[in-house]
């Protein structure tokens, strides 16, 4: 009997090679979006199935990570929880960057512990939460974020700015609330 030789299949192998290393990050992101373990698991599963199905249409040389995140996010937005999250941002095109009004709050932020930041992130609107995660946790460039969220880079900048402002406000409220509570 001849020994069976496995022939390398570039397209099949490369999907595995590209997609499996993203698993942990995608799950973290899914969990932040859904705020629910079972839903996040379904979302990740759905993302991989859709990505696998659509892999032939993926253009080599374009950003695979942004492509995967976009599939995950679109799946989330069409899910039951996703449909409930209203994406109402009266931004933002050609608006330029808003002028910063808050003063530096270094001392304030220093008091914020990890759990407090997590709570504040949870409380943010989904568009703010997701853009902060993509920028800070996934360390995506503005270009990549734009591809993931299907928005222009200018919108990435202004939404990110507003998201950070919203986070500052949320943290300040929490810290002051804690202080009053004590």
């Amino acid at each position: 009997m001849r020994v069976f030789e496995e022939r390398p299949r570039p397209s099949a192998l490369s999907f595995e090679d590209l997609a499996l290393p993203l698993f942990d990050q995608l799950y973290n992101f899914a969990r932040w979006l859904t705020q629910d373990k079972a839903e996040a698991e379904d979302l990740v599963q759905e993302t991989y199935v859709k990505a696998l199905r659509g892999f032939s249409s993926f253009q080599p040389g374009t950003n695979f990570r942004a492509w995967m995140y976009r599939i995950l996010r679109n799946s989330f937005l069409s899910s039951r929880t996703g449909l409930k999250t209203t994406v109402l941002l009266d931004e933002e095109e050609n608006e330029g960057l808003p002028v910063e009004t808050a003063t530096p709050e270094s001392l304030l932020i220093e008091r914020a512990n990890r759990e407090m930041v997590q709570r504040a992130l949870e409380g943010l609107a989904v568009p703010f939460r997701e853009i902060l995660l993509l920028c800070e946790v996934e360390e995506m460039s503005y270009q990549e974020i734009g591809e993931t969220l299907a928005i222009p880079v200018g919108t990435v900048m202004s939404r990110l700015f507003r998201a950070r402002q919203a986070l500052r406000v949320a943290l300040r409220e929490r810290i002051e609330g804690e202080r009053r509570g004590v």
């Binding site: 001849r2 069976f4 799950y27 698991e41 991989y48 990890r114 986070l167």
Partner: protein, 250 residues
């Protein structure tokens, strides 16, 4: 430049979105301006705290296994895309069942993959509203239909005096290689017969004989440079019977 204008650039500076020249200019300003330096400090703190707080959830091992199985199993399938989603649970079961089979080592892996693909093709074809492209019970119609569609020819058995009937045929692909897919019927059971050139690395060197793939019975053998697979939910005796007829005809 007033500090307000600098402030606008601080986020871009920290996010690494400025050109090297712009970044140098901002850096120089920060060394001279305590106000902007404090603003940068605050931004770094927020960035860092989100970075730490954001890495919060880890998937558990069962999900990891499920996804790995989905990816490794499904990326090898080439069935019509609309069936892929629906067949995922079935495929996971098939793969799990194959894992229990008695075959060892690489051959087992090879068999597993091929049989799961063939089982997929079988199920997907039967579930289709147009399972066959040439509908005929006449082998003299079905066989010529394949001419020019696949790079080889084959003989089909005379079925008069048997319980088998020919339903029709279509072109099937196993890892991009075209082959013949014939559907037979016996006592309301559909049986798929696949014929591929044996030279294809995918099917080369498979040991011949009976097999079970989940709930399906299967047979495989080579003959005149062609690899035959017979697979279906009929009794193994029927699978064997059809295999014998095909072997005699070939």
């Amino acid at each position: 430049m007033a500090c307000d204008e600098w402030r606008v650039k601080l986020d871009l500076y920290l996010d690494g979105e400025l050109t090297p020249n712009e970044a140098m200019t901002v850096g120089a300003h920060l060394r001279e301006c305590p106000g902007c330096a404090a603003a940068v400090l605050e931004r770094v703190q927020i960035k860092r705290s989100v970075q730490i707080a954001g890495k919060r959830y880890a998937p558990d091992a069962t999900l990891r296994m499920r996804i790995t199985k989905t990816v490794t199993a499904r990326s090898r399938g080439r069935i019509a895309t609309r069936w892929r989603f629906a067949l995922i649970p079935a495929l996971v079961l098939l793969v799990a069942a194959f894992l229990l089979s008695a075959y060892e080592g690489r051959e087992r892996a090879a068999r597993q993959r091929i049989y799961s693909e063939l089982a997929d093709l079988h199920v997907a074809t039967l579930a289709s509203s147009t399972p066959v492209d040439v509908v005929s019970t006449d082998r003299h119609t079905v066989k010529p239909w394949f001419q020019g569609k696949i790079p080889f020819t084959f003989n089909l058995p005379e079925l008069s005096g048997t319980d088998f009937s020919l339903v029709g045929g279509r072109v099937a692909y196993l890892e991009q290689s075209p082959g013949a897919h014939l559907i037979y019927q016996i006592r309301k059971h559909e049986i798929s017969v696949f014929i591929f050139p044996e030279r294809e690395a995918e099917v080369r060197g498979l040991s011949s004989g009976p097999a079970r793939a989940a709930s399906f019975n299967a047979q495989t053998w080579t003959q005149d440079g062609l690899r035959y697979f017979v697979i279906g939910d009929a009794a193994s005796a029927d699978i064997l019977g059809l295999s014998k007829l095909l072997q005699d005809a070939g």
